[in-house]
Symmetry: C2
Subunit: 144 residues, 2 copies
Amino acid sequence: MNEEEQVLIHCLYFTASRFARNITKLAERTFDFGNLAPSYFYMIMIVKFHPGITQKELCHKLSIAPSTSTRFIDKLEGLKLVTRKTSGKQTCISLTEDGEKVYVQFRSSLKELFAGYSEILGHEFSLDLSKMLHEASNKLEKEL
Amino acid sequence: MNEEEQVLIHCLYFTASRFARNITKLAERTFDFGNLAPSYFYMIMIVKFHPGITQKELCHKLSIAPSTSTRFIDKLEGLKLVTRKTSGKQTCISLTEDGEKVYVQFRSSLKELFAGYSEILGHEFSLDLSKMLHEASNKLEKEL
DNA sequence: ACTTTTAATTTGTATATGCAAATGAAGGGG
DNA sequence: CCCCTTCATTTGCATATACAAATTAAAAGT
């Protein structure tokens, strides 16, 4: 193995970005209803479990910038999947009935996605990798 | 741990995208010369080790779409860091002298980046995670 | 040698995403 | 009660990235 490969394999920024691109392709193929990118469904799920969550909390749970959350919510609101309710400085988000329906579909696609990559990567391996990424994100966020 | 957290922690798409966003922040802070996003430096490194590499090979090594490579190279060419040489259907890319200089800088920033996340995540952990991501990308690419 | 096919690159267009500046709303000090 | 600060959200702008269609150049079949 030459020097270049060593560097590429050992650089977390590089391997993580590359892997994210690859798994995004798989996810986009799996969530092929609704014309929404996969990330939107994760936002829907979080709102499902935290009705009336503030945008700020959403940003934190998804690790996205506030501006990104604004635009996501704009889009979801436009599709009548969530509702905004401003309360003072904050904005609280909840699911509409249509949003609930989309959530149900999402959950079944999610199983498909799990099955898809588990078959390719191995079930245990996928679980381990996912947990490590989760843990690493939390540590990084605490420091940055 | 509730159902939502379970799903979020176990979904590789979600944890991978989130982690990629977080580590990108760290990388952008570390590579603060040249006004280039981190990815460009990886392209430069690959060209450094494969002078005259074709665009197609670059795409494969970086896991990016051909159109993305075109635009990256446009930018690097504009900055006089690489040169294009079309040969038939293909285009071959090499570093200029300035490109070589940038590469040297990049290598030292890379050490900084490694040190930065190793301190937060642990040296062994970082290495393991990076290797797993590398391996997983390769498997995924083979299948998709 | 001409036409058809194939393969690499480019261009057009769309989107997720971020940062920095602007807005707007609460709350505290005088 | 007004000003100033603080903080959540939004808006303006920039960019990495992808897909699909267009281009271009080699290669293959006739």
